[in-house]
């Protein structure tokens, strides 16, 4: 277990290095010159030159990378050219918003996806199973923006139950905070729930026909214990790993969803930054996102190991 953890943590270093190079390289491909954008209408050559010098845009790209990396390693993600604030502050300001959204989305996805998967496997070929499968198909094939607009129309415009946009911190008002995030979280979680449901159903069907489930039934256990104890534990371990792969969907989905619901999170931060060629912000946000993604995957692997006694020792 411990050597495994050590190895995984060591693997993080080259992975993150690689990610940072790609982030840095890719955005050099973005059309448009940030200095020109910042210099405004006049495009005074002197101002442009000064901006270039200040943000080291006049240096070769590898040199720029080294400066950036040095800053990152000492906890300095640079400064937003547009808002003139440290990127780290922006990140720390927006991270909790997206984390809350993502956390709620995962919870919704797990409850709906795993629940529907188990039900449809246990009641295979009944209307419950068909219903769950139709739901999954719908969930996978419904675009986020469309579902988002639909929800806003129904719950905000027609029924007036939930705010159509905006965000309230949980520390300010928990109820209002949940009300402001439940729709975007549902939109985000819905697609993942559909995928989890498919995985769970498949894994459960396989496990339910296994020899050890037959043994559990031969012992006279109640069907509840057979399903929830003997089958579910074994069925859900692979689902953990597959679910972790869906975290990518979650993070990319957050970008669009935050736009639709005008939630001031990471997604909105990065979209604004890309449009304004605010390099430091883009780099910082993507780096933090990538780190979060890799860390969550590592946590999923650990959970998988803990759930699996053959790997634990």
């Amino acid at each position: 277990m411990l050597p495994f953890l050590g190895r995984r943590l060591l693997q993080l270093i080259p992975t993150l290095f690689f990610v940072s190079v790609i982030i840095f390289g890719l955005q050099q491909l973005l059309p448009g010159d940030p200095a020109l954008i910042m210099a405004g209408e006049d495009r005074d050559p002197e101002v442009i030159a000064q901006i270039r010098a200040q943000y080291r845009l006049d240096q070769p790209i590898p040199v720029q990378y080294v400066y950036w990396m040095k800053g990152v390693l000492s906890g300095d993600l640079g400064e937003s050219m547009r808002i003139k604030k440290p990127v780290l502050d922006l990140v720390l300001e927006k991270l909790p918003v997206t984390a809350q959204l993502a956390g709620m989305a995962i919870l919704i996805a797990l409850v709906i996806g795993v629940g529907a998967g188990i039900v449809s496997a246990v009641y295979k070929d009944t209307w419950l199973d068909y219903g769950a499968n139709i739901f999954a198909l719908w969930g996978i094939s419904t675009p986020n923006f469309w579902l988002g607009i639909l929800l806003i129309f129904l719950f905000s415009v027609q029924l007036g139950w939930l705010p159509a946009s905006g965000y309230v911190r949980p520390s300010e008002d928990l109820r209002a905070s949940l009300a402001s995030t439940i729709m975007p979280a549902f939109v985000l979680g819905n697609a993942i729930a559909a995928v989890l449901m498919r995985h769970t159903r498949g894994a459960m069907l396989q496990v339910l026909s296994s020899d050890y489930v037959r043994t559990a039934r031969a012992k006279g256990l109640l069907e509840r214990s057979v399903v929830l104890k003997h089958a579910m534990r074994n069925a859900l371990t692979p689902v953990i790993t597959l679910g972790a792969l869906e975290l990518g969907t979650l993070l990319s989905g957050a970008v669009l969803t935050e736009q639709i619901f005008t939630v001031p999170g990471f997604g909105k931060l990065i979209v604004d930054a890309v449009f304004n060629r605010d390099y430091a912000v883009v780099q910082g946000v993507v780096l933090v996102t990538a780190t979060a993604y890799i860390t969550l995957n590592l946590l999923a692997d650990i959970a998988y190991m803990l759930a699996n006694p053959r790997l634990r020792s």
């Binding site: 296994s210 050890y212 037959r214 031969a218 012992k219 006279g220 109640l222 003997h230 006694p309």
Partner: protein
Amino acid sequence: MTEPLLAVDDLRVAFAGDDGRTTLAVDGVGFALQRGRTLGIVGESGCGKSVTSLSIMGLLPKQSARVSGSVMFEGTDLLRAADRTLRDLRGDRLAMIFQEPMTSLNPSYTVGDQIAEAVIRHRGASPREARAHAIEMLRHVRIPSPEQRVDDYPHHLSGGMRQRAMIAMALACDPQLLIADEPTTALDVTIQAQILDLMRRLRAETGTAIILITHDLGVVAELCDDIVVMYAGQVVERAPVAALFAQPQHPYTVGLLGSIPRLDQRRDRLAAIDGTVPNMTAPPPGCRFARRCPFADERCRREAPPPVEVAAGHMSRCWRAPLEHLVQ
């Protein structure tokens, strides 16, 4: 004779296939088992031995299996009993061990947990009592240092040890009937002998009635009181072991025993008989064994032979029984 512990009568099991055709896996099987006795069931692969035992346990898939007939166990018809009743009996009065020790234990729970579960379910034991009982059961099946093994996961144990753990689990609530479906087939020869030895000793200690399904006629000769020979979903011969070995009354049994059946000589496998088993989605009209039977004639191919009692307690499903005049 007293009321038998288990009486299976005219048991039929048909599986509905995905293509709409049904397979008749078990077709009119019947036998009885007295308390404390051991009944062997032998027959080629696919003849319906496992399906028969699973239908006694009520463990066949409900969606695809159509079961009829009756299975009387201690006054209850298991085929008509409510699921609740069956669940209360399974693991308590009735227990089963399976052919595949490697996959029959749940990889995610310790063997101790899996044994204790049955005790908690049926005896209402506390987790602590159940654990102590699990250790006791592991000792009972001669697993060394049971206090440590109780916390082992199945993957820590060898095949033989797992099968011992399965036996411990099955016997945890002191059942009246133990069905052992080829308990040693998946194991090495030396381990097989140890497990059989264990079963023999446990039977002497507990007095549990056993249905032992096996390919090994030597095992039947050593362990069983009565024997049922199955072919293509039917019982073709049923007799006390000594009678069956001395005077087999069905050509299929004669084939299984080979030319000279000998009680002292163990055969690992049934003797090979030429030909193949009939297709059970469309069984032939006459005797199921006709295509492979050296004594088959017109009538055999046309009409199915009824079961006949050739001697007291000795049944054969053959037009030519008794066979004395055929086998020298």
